[in-house]
Symmetry: C2
């Protein structure tokens, strides 16, 4: 199994089909293969050898798609860089992985000097995009034009395909090493559920391509054939326009993106009837958002995928059929065909159904390990299972419920209040575009239910009004007693709301352990 497999198949079966649609720019699979094989040649001419790392620091683009194929074609390893990280964090990942060649696009060209200063290891910078080539950098298009096609190195199987740095939690970032077989297993196994993507269809890339949620969808789209429709980044209007203009059949979005989409006037006016699969991950979707999304996208079936980078990344799926059951919609689904999942205690013994423990997974999708971190690797993979660090329980039918989400709970006046329930109620208010509900210290209640709200453009709302609205749906003690209105919610690279950051403004450091 090798990541370039789908490229070979596409050239053979559908050479004239668009491989990528990026704004006005359409490139066929034949053109894509030509550019990929030329750029791979250029990398080799620049001294990139077997297993060498090539970094990519860029917004989504058709070039990004080509680079992800050209690197293994040249027998090298890609390191997609988190575009939301600071220069210091990015430099850490480049130095740690020994990345000597880095691609940057227009959006990140201005960081090149800073990164060069921070990274002794960095030898070659290649610029892609329509803007000016930074001083000392090479031009991606020039390299393609100047090199003849080279034969595929057929890097594959258990060979390292990419290093993905995981951050957002405490400690220094770890480089997750994924093999070609890891990534292909996850893609084929998820597709084997029959609910992943339309064969030969069109996949929208609006989530960041550096993140493996989108990356895994990219692997699957290549394996199944079809077309990548790419926007530089997520905006509700951009997504609606791309779906309508290019008859997108499959899209991967995180729930917060879906919420922004269903609130968008652009989406309401666009013809989104081509969309057949809406894949989401990172967190369950609220009832209110799901209802509105189902109305906005009547032809779409919903698929929730749960996993982590270390699992390439999919390990459970909540299928479209599962979504019919409101109870199941709180769960992360069941083990996919390529995975085995269980809930274990501190001794690594499986716990009884319904008992909370750590989610562990096994299968061909489990990472090779953490780059240069044998102790952390051995610990994470002890006993042959990947230990996710996520708390969860399993029901009698094998459905997994992630408790770190469910435990996102406020104890107010001795009553348990689940944030998700309050967020569901709040989201039904017409002025609320996005929201997060947290517990904050309160002299009377211990914790007080507090809402952080993003309002729909030009709309107004008061705490009292939101509270009264919520009380129509949920008990008074669950309804927010205070609120703050913000421009945007803090998000992780995966598009998950960082409640930790929201809480930090209200709680003294170390006073609350739930992340």
């Amino acid at each position: 199994m090798y990541l370039t497999q789908g490229l070979h198949r596409a050239v053979q079966q559908t050479p004239d089909l668009p491989a990528t649609i990026f704004g006005e720019q359409v490139r066929s699979w034949a053109e894509c293969a030509d550019r990929v094989s030329r750029f791979a040649h250029a990398l080799q001419a620049l001294g990139v050898g077997t297993g060498d790392r090539v970094g990519i620091l860029a917004l989504n683009s058709d070039d990004y798609h080509e680079i992800l194929l050209a690197v293994p074609w040249a027998d090298a390893v890609f390191t997609p860089v988190n575009t939301r990280w600071s220069a210091a964090e990015i430099a850490y990942s480049l130095v740690d992985s020994g990345t000597e060649v880095l691609l940057v696009d227009d959006a990140f060209a201005s960081m090149v000097d800073d990164l060069r200063q921070r990274c002794d290891v960095l030898q070659t910078v290649i610029h892609c995009g329509g803007g000016a080539v930074p001083a000392g950098a090479l031009s991606y298009e020039r390299l393609i034009a100047d090199h003849e096609p080279v034969a595929d190195a057929y890097r594959g199987g258990d060979a390292l395909a990419g290093i993905y740095y995981t951050g957002g939690t405490t400690g220094s970032p770890k480089g997750v090493m994924l093999s070609h077989a890891n990534l292909m297993t996850s893609a084929l196994g998820t597709a084997a559920t029959g609910a992943f993507m339309v064969p030969g269809g069109r996949l929208l890339h609006a989530a960041p391509m550096f993140h493996l949620a989108d990356g895994a969808a990219w692997v699957a789209r290549n394996a199944l054939g079809g077309t990548h429709v790419i926007v530089p980044g997520f905006t509700p209007g951009g997504v609606a326009e791309a779906i309508a203009a290019h008859e997108v059949t499959d899209a991967l979005l995180v729930p917060t993106m879906i919420q922004l989409l269903v609130d968008s006037p652009d989406a309401a006016e666009a013809d989104l009837s081509s969309l057949q699969h809406l894949i989401y991950g990172a967190s369950p979707i609220s009832e209110a958002v799901l209802e509105r999304a189902a109305k906005l996208l009547p032809s779409a079936r919903f698929l929730q995928l749960y996993g982590m980078t270390e699992l390439s990344p999919t390990t459970t799926a909540l299928t479209p059929d599962d979504h019919a059951d409101p109870e199941l919609r709180r769960s992360a689904g069941r083990a996919v065909p390529h995975a085995e999942v269980r809930i274990v205690d501190d001794e690594d013994d499986e716990v009884a159904r319904g008992t909370v423990g750590e989610v562990a997974a096994r299968g061909g999708h489990v990472m090779l390990g953490y780059w240069n971190k044998p102790a952390e690797t051995a610990h994470a993979l002890r006993g042959g299972w990947m230990h996710t660090g996520d708390g969860g329980y399993m029901d009698e039918r094998g459905y997994v419920y992630i408790v770190d989400r469910i435990k996102d709970m406020i104890v107010s006046g001795g009553e348990n209040v689940y944030s998700a329930e309050v967020e569901n109620a709040l989201a039904k208010h017409p002025s609320v575009a996005a929201c997060a509900v947290i517990g904050v210290p309160d002299p009377d209640w211990g914790e007080r239910v507090h809402a952080v709200v993003v309002l729909v453009d030009a709309q107004q709302a008061t705490v009292e009004e939101l509270r009264e609205h919520c009380k129509q749906h949920i008990a008074g003690y669950k309804s927010p007693r205070s609120a703050e209105f913000v421009e945007a919610l803090p998000m992780s690279g995966a598009g998950k709301i960082l409640k930790r950051e929201l809480r930090a403004r209200h709680w003294p450091a170390g006073d609350r352990s739930v992340s």
Copy 2:
């Protein structure tokens, strides 16, 4: 990736669902896991160690399913034995693979003494089935009852899963070594086409379980969850009854089985409306049989898979949608998501589209090699590609046409006559149950179109009558000038008609090279 993965998932998600339905005998997944883990323990207690080979010589049964799981659970390797082989051929495969433990069922109990004499290596015989246990053999049920469950050895990845002996062609049989990853890759990749099987559905095993055509469907059914409906072997009545009685959703049959099914009065009377996927392989299906099958099975979609044991076995698929195009129905389909396929010349260079060459394939489904045959392995896998030995060409859209079938051609009076076309016409005659058309030597015509015909029970027909019938559909020079009526057509283990044998009766040895 490991073959016991699906068993673990099924126990977790659907413990009470039937794993196997075999006649009146229904065993749940929980019961299956219990029996598998006990029998694995018994194997270990009998001295079966890591990588040791365990043979199975049996008709299809629920025990067969369990044994295929128990062997890897015990960290061992299965060698399913071709039940159609002679004692000498079976002995060759057991000795060659060093199989010390052999399971036999009632149908093959009488061969035990003979095999013991021929195989010094054979130390332990275990008998399964309801009949008497042969002298010196152990009882499968007794071993299960006498042993406690043992933990899964989690044999998987690139470790050897099974050795499948391929025969039917010239030379001594070769043991094809397939890993867990090989078999799982083929199963997940084929399922990723979205047209393989109903998730959680019921698969009929009527083709022999020792052959990898059925074996691959077995792997996929385990991976996707669901139930195995098993009949000891193919009979039209038995298949019709099993589909109707157990609401079978998916079935794998070879075209000759499909032909016998559509001719069967039992099938015509049975309710076969549950069948959603009819998977066939080994050879393309004739137009006439396809038409009749579509009438008999109105809910079924047709999927043709092409490959070979060395490819675990699937490498191209002709999808249900492809079947709508009569031209494409002559092809073997296109590369599946887990495979790359190309047509090469004697120098291993890819030939132009439409040019005949050798079909070669690459991917995670390519065998580890031939058991104890490094030279043959290196030759078959030269340049990283599995060389199938099949002649074929590829069209502009990547569809593969196998020429050794198309070249199944008769040159009569200077005119080319394609056997398939004549067989199509013949099959439309109400008295014809099955047929094969070959060229035989003729002083006037060079080759004469000759039909070998199996008649429907109690029906009569003459050569003249069949010839007149054919002339209503095809040209006179294509219509058979001679015929013989036989009880059954000679078949390979894969259910392919052995035209070689039919021709051998008419041609001097070595006079004709097409196999």
